[in-house]
Symmetry: C2
Subunit: 356 residues, 2 copies
């Protein structure tokens, strides 16, 4: 197995995860290979299915190793079952490769609950982090913001939300390239007395923190897409509802726009003439270009691709893994936790591979 070099990034791929696996996973890797010459792939899954596809992409084959397993976790599998039976699955073995230092991170389009459960079981959480959260990016009027938790934790206390803010800070630095990203807590008003106890206490903790966090207070739902903050923090219940509400609203608006443009001759003609502009507009909502979430707080980089994605989408998830690894965000999270006094320096060790 290839050793991690100065710049090499070794990614474990769950080749059997997702609706369009294994084809979309391998084709996605082929797209990413061209963009990131420093990436090497460890392919976990059924070699009988992988080998013939890989044969069509000799350059990908040359930078990949196949790790055969007959087992795979289905989309319907419950997390509890995944924990019992999933260790030898393509997903479980891919996570194991990160734990054992053979890979720097893993990308999977498989079952979200199973990925989180196996991720926690095998990699455990970062020192100082109680619960991992699902983080992702969202389009805004000014570009992108990052948001967490998008559905990992139904119930969150103030300490959880505080940890999410620290993780979101590191994630936004890595993903958006902003030195001191602004952080907002999602709430139903901007006054101090608004919201539930967890949000109010987390706000107090963030205001009083010695960390260099740029906490700007509460942000309302309309602040997500209008970029009221670079980082939006919420519990996983609210965050998931907000994430999917954005999806639904975008679907509705694009549907209505098409409907009205198609309802008249002038509409059709105008749309034809403005087609390049409308195409650029539509790219903002292309799910394949907006794919990939990170399980922040695990002691190892775990990236989740949406299960329905095709090859372009899977390549976008690989791109996220690369950006996150290049920016060593787990190291950043731990050092911020130490700086905040929430973690003793002596306990602050992450996976050594991340320092490679």
């Amino acid at each position: 197995m290839e050793k991690a070099g100065e710049n090499l990034i070794r990614l474990a791929l769950d080749v059997m995860g997702g609706d369009k696996a294994p084809e979309a996973v391998l084709r996605g890797a082929e797209i990413a290979r061209k963009q990131f010459p420093d990436v090497r792939f460890l392919l976990f899954g059924d070699s009988r299915k992988i080998t013939p596809i890989l044969a069509r992409f000799p350059e990908l084959e040359a930078i990949s190793t196949i790790h055969h397993t007959d087992e795979a976790i289905s989309d319907e599998e419950k997390a509890s079952m995944a924990i019992r039976k999933g260790r030898n699955s393509s997903m479980g073995l891919a996570i194991r490769a990160v734990k054992d230092g053979h890979a720097d991170g893993i990308v999977s389009a498989g079952n979200t609950g199973a990925l989180m459960a196996l991720g926690k079981l095998i990699l455990q959480t970062l020192p100082g982090i109680d619960r991992p959260a699902i983080g992702g990016d969202m389009p805004t009027t000014k570009g992108y913001c990052v948001m967490l938790d998008l559905g990992g934790n139904v119930h969150c206390d103030a300490e959880n939300l505080f940890e999410f803010a620290v993780m979101g800070h590191a994630f936004a630095r890595a993903l958006l390239g902003i030195e001191r990203p602004s952080i907002g807590l999602l709430n139903i008003g901007t006054e101090e007395t608004k919201g539930n106890e967890a949000v109010q206490q987390a706000a107090a903790m963030l205001r009083e923190s010695d960390m260099p966090l740029n906490f700007i207070g509460y942000v309302e739902g309309n602040g997500i897409n209008t970029h009221a903050a670079d980082v939006i923090i919420s519990d996983g219940f609210t965050g998931n509802i907000a994430l999917k509400t954005v999806e639904g609203t975008a679907t509705m608006i694009v549907t209505l726009l098409k409907h009205h443009l198609k309802s008249s001759l002038w509409g059709k003609l105008g749309a034809l003439i403005a087609r390049p502009a409308l195409k650029k507009f539509a790219e903002h909502f292309d799910p394949e270009l907006n794919n990939g979430a990170i399980f922040l707080g695990l002691n190892g980089v775990v990236i989740k691709s949406h299960g329905g994605m095709g090859e372009r989408g899977f390549a976008t998830a690989i791109k996220l893994a690369v950006r996150v690894l290049r920016n060593r965000i787990n190291e950043q999270i731990v050092s911020e936790m130490v700086r905040s006094g929430h973690l003793l320096a002596a306990d602050a060790s992450t996976r050594p591979e991340e320092h490679a």
Copy 2:
């Protein structure tokens, strides 16, 4: 004071509430007057300000009575202060008129917290209803759905959510004209095990209920605008975040669309040609045409107009009041509560005026 006739609807207006009061309130009443010849207005506020404006609209003046008060509740006033001092304000007196049977309902663009607090204090809740909820309508791919709670209650238990479903059922029948509206509980997945305890228990209550409610189970955030159900039920924290997320997403998308159309000559030309179609499209997001929320569960009809609305928006809120009153939704809510066994028939009395 005019007596309630067979079809007459007497509305109390808080003329001093809202950023553009009193002008927008009175002009809004003038717009509504033309649409609804059966409406009469009781105008609560500073007569020195009301009289000169009203003089410009003699037909409105003819169907209105002015009820002078010097006091008004500001937007910054806390709900607790409104309770202590607000009884003689334009808002408090207008609510009082409903309580005393002089008006059938009240419309206010004033302070939401004060309106809810004074509404509860003066009107109290409907028999069988523990807590009022804020209900409103949302544009969808198929037209409109109704949603509650949009921000009245941060914490909700299963019983509250159950009551919201009963109220949402009646509201959707009134507003959407659907005989048996489908009802969905907002959650982070559609499987039975998803979400928090309140949602899970409410789902069980709704499934086991003898009521003729058309409960279809859980609905995810993307189901709101894609019309997964006619009625969307959630706690007030999540509901408010979802409502405002829709607003923010719509703002972002319209901003991006304009940006891309303006970025090229072909885009500009196409937009010019497709202008009538784009205008119809934009109407879906016109806040003045989507204005008005109802405080469901109060023993009297209280309609809240957004504080920033102009006259067209206030007229839309009046329209909501008229539809709600014509459909006698409070009567419907109470009879459904009786039918479900959640209320004894002997306790099921609403404001007598509503039967007028």
